[in-house]
Symmetry: C2
Subunit: 273 residues, 2 copies
């Protein structure tokens, strides 16, 4: 999906919501637990209930890898379903990968290649290993790398927010340096909603880039604060909610409850657009 297609999708759905498919079998409704392809059936119901209210889906791969080989099969079923729908959605492999150049190429092939098992639009990447660990993800036509800048967890204070010799915090150096590796049409950044007041600082370095903002809801971030400090004329935001939507109910009404929570966020977003 190109930048313009994503912006058009945001305008037509009046939403910049990303639904995090962090599916934990133990938190699914009882009637789906232990059934064959229960995780896929759960995801399918969530997708059906939310696709007109959101623009993106973001499975965190850790949840699928934790289920072993069958988990990756559930992920493939989910992606196959999304590709079959005929309704566009931006898909993000929340994988936080990154390795030396020839190895990052493999990760790009694994998750972004249209001939591969998954064919995501984007993948999240950790910047610690620098340029050659990131660049292979920027060379897949029409696909995106989403670089970790400022994450929403407490560990973000350990390294991301510590000052370099020139006084700038590490996450700002990541933002600045990465401008040599990609542009606004193939690179986004993760900036946690729990640090919304820093979005203004982020915007000074990457004024037009899309930001993927996790941490709204369960982790305590405020959607209004994110919009106030991070939104641009093109929106340029994808705001993620995972637990707050997909586990809104653990009963048989889980999909309707997910829709209701997604609709609340969508209405707030429509007011900002």
């Amino acid at each position: 999906m190109t930048r313009q297609e994503l912006i058009d999708l945001i305008r037509s759905r009046r939403s910049f919501l990303c639904v995090g498919l962090d599916t934990d079998p133990a938190k699914m409704p009882a009637h789906l637990q232990g059934t064959a392809d229960g995780v896929f059936l759960f995801n399918k119901a969530i997708i059906d209930a939310t696709i007109d209210l959101c623009v993106a889906y973001k499975p965190n791969l850790a949840f699928y890898e934790a289920m072993g080989l069958d988990g990756m099969r559930q992920l493939k079923l989910t992606m196959d379903y999304l590709h079959s729908l005929g309704k566009p959605a931006f898909t993000i492999a929340d994988a936080k990968r990154g390795d030396i150049g020839n190895t990052s190429e493999r990760y790009a092939r694994a998750y972004l290649d249209p001939r591969g098992d998954f064919d995501f639009d984007a993948i999240t990447v950790a910047p610690y290993m620098g340029s050659d660990s990131v660049q292979p993800f920027t060379t897949v036509q029409g696909k995106w790398v989403i670089l970790l800048a400022l994450t929403s967890n407490k560990g973000a204070f350990d390294f991301q927010l510590t000052a370099s010799a020139d006084g700038t915090p590490l996450y700002q150096r990541v933002l600045a340096q990465s401008r040599q590796w990609g542009g606004d049409d193939n690179m986004m950044y993760v900036v946690g909603a729990t640090k919304a007041e820093m979005l203004a600082d982020v915007r000074r370095v990457v004024p037009g880039s899309f930001l993927l903002v996790p941490g709204v809801g369960a982790q305590g971030g405020s959607l209004d604060e994110v919009c106030r400090h991070g939104m641009t004329a093109d929106c340029s935001l994808l705001v993620n909610s995972s637990r707050g939507i997909i586990y809104a109910s653990q009963g048989e009404d889980f999909a309707e409850a997910a829709r209701a929570e997604a609709a609340k966020l969508q209405r707030q977003m429509a007011a900002w657009l």
Copy 2:
């Protein structure tokens, strides 16, 4: 595998060699390409040819993920085979994962849990997200986290080697801070052989920790330099070679050629032990 068991294994095999199972189907001998379970059969032949000359195996997960669902099955077959051998080997999931705390727990379950599909001894982890992204890997009994400190690629200069406000490079801050998250019996560090002269600096911060050292051979690092600057009385080194061993020949003699290359390194290592 405990630290003492690993040290005993190094002494009995007179080797601290780690063989990197970065298996690329296109580089396998022609007779294995395109055959069912060819990647596993390749790995099995490499393992059979090298297990008395090395102490560890390190599949880089990118190579398996790039093959989609079938790749993860080849990885599981490889791990099942290693577990069935009755000859000890330290196994490392070179995964470079890391996420917020509750998600890193999932990655720990995926790769370290003895009840899971893989049951590795150790996993490599990227430190960018800080404490809560690393700690879940340290709580699995008898298992190890191997934290990226100073990697062997050119991108290491982008962030790892840049000075913080207090003058220390980022990788040294990672080493120092991580001492609060684990100890010498459950945490190792990746330090690239291409920067062997920096091993002395590394040893000032982590004098007794095991170091996993990639970059010997194909990437240009020198084994002697690594030993000179990094070895301790307990050895505390695992030196990895991937391409130099597993692709020593692309003919039907690939396993014997791999053994010959592994034996060269083992003899050099025996002289240092």
